[in-house]
């Protein structure tokens, strides 16, 4: 059901606070955990005030299990036999195409606040989804009876549904050709499986980070660690049997400082990123740290995260935010940190270039796109000549990286914007023909075995600058500007023109130098104007991934994990507003 929706501004504290899917993007936990759905009543008593249980987001849901079971695997030979029973049943029932996804979706989530553990949940969801084409029409059915008989029954049901839907179908499905790969495997290149690390070590790390925040003046701190493993087996009538083992991890925290006398409170969010990595992301390494602008104390993190260091700085910055100068609205040159810019890329380029949105399939939910095929044909600039955007499903460490997508297409990298011009969209097998392409881009995904796969955003990233430039060099050229790091408020219209973004920390830039912290900053911009105002991009050495576990799309909504890489980037003369208000 559609949820009763609201955000828990202070996540994890509120009883009856549950994660649900929203229509679009969740940059942080703050926006992700929302209140109990009216019709999705789980009925847990919630032992602690904020005891969290995550029943409804696949990838975070499933049956709760003993953590030892997180290390188990299902034998691929068994999965092949099961898959064949479904494919054969589908063909016998009249399907001209069928694919099977047998999925074991595992997760572990740990939540803490201040000195206490709030909840630890281990989840498993196991089942199979079968998609068929019969009479030129898609049909889909799923089952958690993962036996040969159960699979065959679901396959027959999928064919029945396809035949029923074909009566109202106007045009038959046209699939881009896809060769079978035979029996192949792919695994996220992790060093340490997070599920092999004892829970106690993870809890100790989170509580140590909380202690750092409290020791440095925080009034409240929440921290969490999410770990995901998707064990996905894909088979199709094209002759592919693809076994994949995909890992993701996300540590995060929110540190709040309060000034009782003035009644002011401010929160500084983590500068970590969800990653397509193992527990090695939690083991800080010097080579992964990139110093932020001189005078800010900020540190950017590449392929490992120093949670204790970030918690310490977060507490100091949360306190400083309370007394920071409120911004004077006006035009400023913005210098945007990759952990901030990733979200702007996501909203203003990532979604705008999804072909199903362009065509109107998402019109009743997150909307359509200004970047239509007619708009593209005009060959007008999306951004300045510096702007090169690539879609990528292969980048190591990214959330979108897989060997093959959820319809058995080997993944790749391709250009979306080249020298400022829109050159391509993101599309899957049944969309390729619409733009005259004879292969899929390999960006099909489903959040679980029980949901049908559809086009989802690839990693969409801004290429670094080709000339050597550090963030300090970039700032030295700015006369009147603002440096923004991290995730804050974000909103964009249903065709991706007008957006407003905040951040988690802001610094004034005056005459080429950082000149103290600012507050109440948000910038409002038009996508094309914004990307055309891009005037400098730091080099490869500054490049980092931003990401989200919770990109929401579709009805009923599904989540997808996606990364956005960039180096620190400058945008000239952007409209900045002041968001402070007075209430009674």
């Amino acid at each position: 059901m559609q949820p009763r929706y609201d955000s828990c501004v202070n996540w994890l504290q509120l009883a009856d606070c549950r994660p649900i899917l929203s229509f679009d993007f969740h940059s942080s936990i703050t926006q992700t955990f929302t209140f109990l759905k009216r019709r999705d009543f789980v009925g847990l008593t919630g032992l602690a005030t904020g005891a969290m249980f995550l029943p409804s987001v696949p990838g975070f849901g499933g049956e709760l299990i003993d953590p030892a079971r997180l290390l188990e695997q299902v034998d691929p030979a068994i999965k092949k036999r099961l898959a064949d029973s479904a494919l054969n049943a589908a063909k016998s029932a009249g399907a001209t195409y069928a694919d099977v996804r047998i999925g074991r979706y595992l997760n572990q989530s740990i939540f803490t606040r201040e000195k206490q553990v709030q909840n630890i949940a281990n989840g498993e969801s196991y089942g199979a989804g079968i998609r068929v084409i019969a009479n030129g029409t898609w049909g889909f059915a799923a089952t958690n009876t993962v036996t040969e008989a159960g699979m065959a029954k679901a396959a027959q049901l999928a064919v029945q549904i396809a035949k029923a839907n074909s009566k109202v179908q106007k045009e038959p499905v046209k699939l881009a050709p896809q060769k079978g790969y035979g029996e192949v495997t792919w695994k996220t290149p992790i060093q340490v499986n997070a599920f092999e690390v004892p829970i106690k070590d993870k809890v100790d790390l989170l509580l140590a980070a909380n202690a750092k925040a409290l020791d440095n003046g925080a009034n409240f701190v929440n921290s969490a660690l999410f770990q995901i493993n998707e064990q996905k087996y894909f088979a199709s009538t094209d002759g592919s049997y693809i076994d994949q083992d995909i890992h993701r991890i996300w540590p995060t925290l929110g540190v709040t400082a309060i000034d009782r006398a003035s009644g002011k409170f401010r929160t500084r969010e983590a500068l970590s990123s969800p990653m397509g990595m193992g527990y090695e992301y939690m083991q800080p390494k010097a080579q992964d740290k990139i110093a932020g602008p001189a005078g800010t104390g900020l540190v950017g993190y590449k392929y490992s995260y120093d949670m204790l260091e970030d918690a310490t700085l977060a507490a100091k910055q949360a306190k400083e935010k309370i007394t920071a100068k409120s911004v004077t609205p006006g035009k400023y040159d913005l210098v945007l940190d990759p952990n901030h810019l990733g979200l702007t890329i996501h909203e203003s380029i990532g979604h705008a270039t999804e072909l199903d949105r362009v065509l109107g399939y998402e019109a009743n939910y997150a909307g359509t796109s200004f970047a239509t095929q007619e708009w593209k044909a005009k060959n007008q600039p999306y951004g300045s000549k510096l702007v090169n955007i690539i879609a990528d499903k292969t980048q190591p460490g990214s959330l979108g990286a897989v060997g093959y997508d959820d319809e058995g297409v080997k993944t790749k990298q391709w250009d979306i914007i080249k020298d400022g011009k829109l050159v391509d969209y993101q599309k899957i097998r049944d969309q390729a023909h619409i733009v005259g392409q004879n292969e899929s881009d390999g960006c099909c995904y489903s959040q679980s075995w029980e949901d049908v796969q559809f086009q989802r955003m690839a990693n969409i990233s801004l290429k670094p600058g080709t000339e050597k430039m550090s963030v300090d060099q970039m700032i030295s050229n700015v006369d009147k500007g603002i440096y923004i790091a991290g995730r804050g408020s974000f909103s964009i219209d249903q065709q991706r023109y007008n957006s407003q973004f905040g951040g988690t920390v802001f610094y004034a830039i005056e005459k080429g130098k950082i000149a103290g912290m600012l507050e109440d900053v948000a910038y409002q911009t038009n996508t094309v104007e914004f990307w055309n105002s891009c005037s400098a991009i730091c080099d490869q050495s500054d490049y980092r991934l931003f990401g989200s576990f919770f990109d929401g799309k579709g009805q009923p909504p599904q989540v997808s994990a996606v990364s956005h890489g960039s180096s620190t980037t400058r945008f000239n003369a952007v409209n900045v507003i002041n968001t402070a208000r007075k209430i009674g």
Binding site: Q13, F41, G43, T45, N165, I258, G360, N498, T579
Partner: protein
């Protein structure tokens, strides 16, 4: 299978409790049957169904708690589920916020939370409703995208302290976006019900189609402060955050007491009892209200009663966890399900008639918190924004971005209309002065 009777459900729960070796045990059964149909470009794009009963068992040893779930109910599976919950409980850390399970409770009856018509929905019914909607758009040469989702089910609880609860619930939601083929007009309509017999997709489609046709070739107005009429769907969204739901979501006592809420008081404490809104603002909840009948017990088993949250602009009550209620020594009130904002008798059309100059807003979109200190939110108008002059809709206007707080908004109240159901709440259209639009959007 999905809708077990009270006797059937409690029989399973009794058996679950009989298998428990824990200090405390609580079992919850949650069953649901339903389906959905999605359309785009005047064709069905996807459809799905659900039919499932799930058992959740929470076992406790002292202050340690573990949870396990299953969806089969033979003795072996039930026993295994209880054992898993107990194993997980033994591994869990002690909760410093432990509260013993509740004993027997008295719950209100709310029979209208369930409607047989909703439980009886078939795939044919969904196809017929959505088919009628698509046909209307085909005839008018408009393009539509819609989503119909329904479910019917039950919740049953039982624990080792003697608490026992059972209730059936049902719901149907529909939303539709209609666009003109040239992409210059867009309209929206949405509705939700407990009882599907009230639903008519074609009637809602007509509203969206009229808005789409009427919103072609919108004119740009300068951003700034305007008198607005916010339709109920602009105040509460069932797919997004929203201004009024944000306010109702911020009435938590602990956040206020801890100093991180708009209800926190300078120097400590909270602002319960203070007048923070226009005196015409009264919001209450009532799980037995026939139009939005809801569960009469909360997730932790506390009874949901009729409760006044804001009365004549004064904050009357805050909700809280059981732990915080005990620690702070305050009334133990659960967060409500649906709520009701009191209004008058005027329809949105009546409000338009009484407006000299203003802007009619069909809905707001991509609504996100900007500053929790003031509950400032941002977002945009969407799918039908119109300029009103001398009591009449004059012409469509381009969409705006807003930056506004529900607290400020409810102090700038000009008029309140007649409440209608949105997202399980009763919400009146509101006429607000000085609503802050901060920029224009080209989006249609």
């Amino acid at each position: 299978m999905a809708i077990l009777s009270q006797t059937e459900a409690q029989a399973i729960l009794k058996k679950v409790l009989s298998f428990s070796k824990a200090d405390e045990c609580e079992a919850t059964l949650n069953g649901q049957t339903g389906g959905n149909v999605r359309s785009a470009r005047n064709a069905i794009s996807t459809s799905g169904g659900i039919d499932n009963v799930a058992l959740t068992v929470e076992s406790r040893f002292g202050k340690r708690s573990g949870v396990a779930t299953c969806n089969q109910f033979d003795d072996a599976t039930l026993r295994n589920c209880v054992q898993r919950a107990e194993e997980i409980a033994r591994l869990a850390p002690e909760s410093p916020e432990y509260m013993p399970l509740l004993g027997p409770q008295k719950y209100l009856a709310s029979p209208q939370s369930f409607a047989k018509a909703t439980a009886d929905i078939t795939p044919d019914y969904r196809a017929t409703q959505v088919g009628a909607s698509m046909k209307l758009c085909d005839e008018k040469k408009l393009t539509s995208a819609a989503f119909l989702n329904d479910s019917a089910g039950f919740v049953a609880k039982r624990n080792s302290k003697g608490l026992e609860a059972y209730q059936q619930v049902s719901g149907l939601e529909f939303s539709i976006t209609v666009r003109t083929p040239d992409g210059t007009g867009s309209g929206y309509a949405t509705a939700d019900y407990n009882d599907a017999s009230k639903f008519d997709a074609r009637r809602l489609t007509q509203i969206a189609a009229d808005k789409a046709a009427g919103s072609r070739n919108a004119q740009a107005l300068e951003p700034g402060k305007y008198t607005v009429i916010l339709e109920p769907a602009a105040l509460v969204a069932n797919t997004d955050a929203s201004l009024l739901a944000a306010l109702m979501g911020a009435l938590d006592a602990r956040n206020a007491d801890e100093g991180r809420s708009f209800l926190s008081k300078k120097g400590g404490g909270n602002r319960k009892g203070e007048k923070l809104f226009d005196e015409r603002v009264t919001i209450y909840s009532d799980p037995t209200h026939p139009e939005i009948a809801d569960l009469t017990f909360s997730g932790d088993g506390r009874p949901q009663q009729k409760m006044t949250w804001i009365e004549k602009g004064v904050v009357k009550n805050l909700y809280t966890s059981r732990y915080w209620a005990q620690k702070a020594g305050i009334p133990d009130i659960p967060r409500p399900g649906g709520w009701i904002m009191e209004g008058g008798t005027q329809s949105t059309a009546d409000l338009i008639k009484g407006t000299q100059r203003g802007i009619l807003v069909t809905r707001l979109w991509y609504i996100r918190p900007v500053d929790p200190q003031t509950l400032l939110y941002t977002g945009l108008t969407r799918d039908g924004t119109f300029y009103i002059e001398n009591g009449k809709i004059k012409h469509p206007v381009k969409n705006f971005r807003f930056n506004e707080s529900p607290i400020i908004m409810l102090n700038n109240l000009e008029a309140i209309g007649k409440p209608v159901r949105v997202g399980g709440n009763l919400v009146p259209p509101l006429k607000i002065r000085d609503f802050t639009f901060t920029s224009l959007s080209d989006a249609v």
